[in-house]
Point group: C2
DNA sequence: CGCCTGTTTGAGTTGGGTCAAAGAGAGTGG
DNA sequence: CCACTCTCTTTGACCCAACTCAAACAGGCG
């Protein structure tokens, strides 16, 4: 799901996404601290960014404050994609983040890799629809831990470990659950010896097979 | 959300999506009857199609048969978009359907309109995430009726009317609800005089303001 | 140490699911 | 034309997974 950035630069174009000048120089890095906003719904889009370091969250809010996180952006992910020059969701940093402005060159190869990237994003979203609409709380949490494991897990002896940059509220708002339910699922998985939580934001999967068995239980 | 198809044709390319030869001649029309499958998850992708007439459903299945419809494809929508040459969801016709094979030409303008199309699709999906993860049954149904009204509603005096090509099961699987809950919400809206159901698959919205007020109720 | 923020656990409630049965069309065929 | 069947929808009764509310716990920090 990483953008295959081709190297040759040509005259700028911006008419295919935002049609506003990009105030950030090409390939310029932008650093943000934990919690800083990156853009808001309704903002004029000022080009695309690649997450180089850290993690961001993209989310939608209702008028009364309910929140749905639509995706977490890890290094390699592109943020700011839009079709009409303005953003349709809020985005902020959930850890210290470095972004790289993406050169929107008139390069056909670039356009194709961007198509492939957004198409891959659509595929992931279809999977997440199934999770939100049709999975139980435990299936949601197990699926979440398994997807992260695939993406950022590091083998550590017999187990697979990784950091959770997001807190329980973020996880709940990503999975369409309450924080209490997320916490209860974590506790249950820990009690059954399937995972361990050596630190509050660190996961070790001891029994990957069992975890994957829980991502889609026969009804 | 319609693809702005540009006219000038150039040598074929297919490396940006499916990398298999397209067996359908360019712009050839393909007709399908209600219920016919268009493609399955795992199938080799054979290019893109535009829905010209009728409605299709794109959906994911779990091993035990739970289903989540990820989108309905109306005329103007593109189906078959993928990033790796194979399909990641099932697709079939829910009415008699005509498809048009899309010429995958090396046209930069085409690539950009495809980017804009998929970006718009992402935006719609973000909205649907909020619906699936954070809305009540009544909010889901009201939002669904309102979105359709925007897209295919026809003004009829004081009310807005349209046909529902999908049955209650399809609606339920799109909104992450049971058919009984969908039916109960329809009945409630009817009893309150907000909508009418002159035929089983025809909706008339009598009080659009009230309906829109229900799409996101204060908690 | 005390405070603050985030997490876990417990208790009670409820929205929406399941199961069951009735109703409503749309075919079909005698 | 009507009886019968089949499928889809509606309605009712009941139940449970996940929510809310509340309180305890844990770690980090000034």
């Amino acid at each position: 799901m990483h953008l295959n950035n081709s190297q040759n630069s040509k005259p700028m174009f911006d008419h295919f996404l935002a049609n506003k000048p990009n105030p950030i120089k090409n390939n310029k890095l932008r650093s943000l601290k934990t919690g800083q906003p990156i853009f808001y719904e309704g903002d004029t889009a000022r080009g695309l960014y690649e997450v180089v370091e850290g993690v961001v969250r993209n989310y939608k809010l209702t008028a009364d404050g309910r929140r749905q996180i639509v995706s977490f952006g890890y290094p390699g992910d592109i943020i700011g994609i839009n079709h009409d020059g303005c953003h349709h969701n809020d985005c902020d940093a959930i850890s210290d983040v470095t972004l790289k402005a993406i050169d929107q060159k008139t390069d056909t190869d670039f356009a194709y890799s961007l198509i492939r990237y957004t198409a891959a994003e659509l595929t992931l979203m279809h999977e997440h629809f199934l999770l939100l609409g049709r999975k139980s709380a435990m299936e949601k949490v197990a699926s979440f831990l398994n997807v992260l494991q695939n993406r950022i897990g590091k083998r550590d002896g017999k187990s697979v470990c990784y950091d959770l940059p997001m807190n329980r509220t973020d996880i709940a708002d990503y999975l369409g659950l309450s924080i209490e339910t997320v916490s209860r699922c974590f506790s249950k998985l820990r009690q059954e010896g399937i995972i361990g939580l050596p630190q509050i934001n660190q996961v070790c999967i001891y029994d990957l097979g069992a975890l994957q068995g829980l991502t889609e239980v026969e009804h």
